[in-house]
């Protein structure tokens, strides 16, 4: 019983501190690595809620693919930290106060309501299988949204490629608009050559 509390407080502390590191660090690479740590410790908290499938998906798909993409882009770009840090001090008090008000409001409303605040998780029924339940729901009731999410990924892939694709550099190809625009004087240049020269 107590070991669960120790795990919960340890990993929520790690997650919160690494989230702070994400927003405060000057080096973007360090920020991405802290974000990976934050996701990892949050995945452990999800595991503590007995949602095993999603916690493993968060680590494998999110940390393994999306965060690596972030890291890849951040390392590829040579970012000057001087210009992007302007306004950091200026907006610091505003940001902190807005966040504090937000967190205070949410936490107050959570703890005010004693029905929510004292409740712990009730036990799952016998032979409950999280992955099996999720799969059954996903492929029956939520089949149509599931297919739509596949289309969203396809659209994202096409958008990302078409945004960054600059065309092949070596391939020889016709440019039709250039061919139409061409005038006779671009094709041939007549030069008068004097006889004496």
């Amino acid at each position: 019983m107590e070991i669960l509390k120790i795990i919960f407080y340890t990993f929520s502390l790690i997650s919160t501190l690494s989230a702070l590191q994400v927003i405060l660090s000057k080096n973007p690479v360090k920020a991405v690595l802290s974000l990976v740590l934050c996701f990892f410790s949050t995945a452990i908290l999800w595991m503590l809620c007995e949602s095993e499938f999603l916690s493993i998906v968060l680590i494998l798909v999110y940390v393994g693919a999306v965060m690596v993409l972030f890291l890849f882009v951040v390392m590829m770009l040579d970012i000057k930290t001087s210009s992007i840090k302007e306004g950091f001090i200026k907006y610091f008090p505003l940001g902190i106060s807005v966040a504090f008000l937000l967190v205070f409001g949410i936490v107050y409303s959570i703890t005010y309501n004693t029905i929510i605040s004292c409740k712990t998780f009730s036990a799952y029924p016998e032979n409950y299988n999280n992955v099996k339940m999720l799969g059954e729901m996903l492929f029956t009731e939520y089949l149509y949204p599931f297919e739509l999410s596949g289309i969203i990924l396809l659209v994202a892939m096409i958008a990302a490629i078409s945004l960054t694709f600059r065309g092949s550099q070596k391939r020889k190809h016709q440019d039709v608009s250039d061919q139409i625009k061409v005038k006779a004087k671009d094709r041939i240049k007549l030069i008068d050559i004097k006889e004496n020269e």
């Binding site: 669960l4 919960f8 929520s12 919160t16 989230a19 994400v22 927003i23 973007p28 920020a31 991405v32 974000l35 934050c38 996701f39 949050t42 908290l45 503590l48 809620c49 007995e50 949602s51 999603l54 998906v57 798909v61 999110y62 693919a65 999306v66 993409l69 972030f70 882009v73 210009s83 992007i84 840090k85 306004g87 907006y91 940001g95 902190i96 807005v98 966040a99 937000l102 967190v103 949410i106 959570i110 703890t111 929510i116 605040s117 004292c118 409740k119 712990t120 998780f121 009730s122 729901m137 996903l138 939520y142 969203i152 990924l153 659209v155 994202a156 958008a159 990302a160 945004l163 960054t164």
Partner: protein, 101 residues
């Protein structure tokens, strides 16, 4: 066992940190994207907690879809970041209107 309010407080703190991050890093496009990821993570945590407490797996399916949309958003956001950097050699959000046209 851990009370639900502890989990909810944790996720509220994560959300607040990411809101503060959006305020103080408003020039840095990469950290803005990362703050959005953090926000989505805290929302997903809320979904997981309530799904567990109500013993209803629909919440976890929503987390699944949010993860999908977040991955798509990250891919497109990073593509925009790359073309911004290619054009300006910088990622300052105040010059992002240079991408117009």
């Amino acid at each position: 066992m851990i009370a639900i309010s502890n989990y909810l407080t944790f996720s509220a703190m994560l959300f607040g940190i990411s809101v503060a991050g959006i305020f103080i890093n408003r020039k840095n496009l990469i950290v803005l994207l990362m703050c959005i990821e953090l926000m989505l993570l805290s929302i997903n945590t809320n979904f997981v907690i309530f799904s567990r407490s109500l013993i209803d797996v629909s919440g976890q399916i929503f987390v699944f879809f949010i993860l999908t949309v977040a991955a798509a958003e990250a891919a497109i956001g990073l593509a925009i970041l790359v073309i911004l950097f290619r054009k300006l050699n910088d990622i300052n959000t105040s010059e992002i209107n240079k991408l117009k046209g």
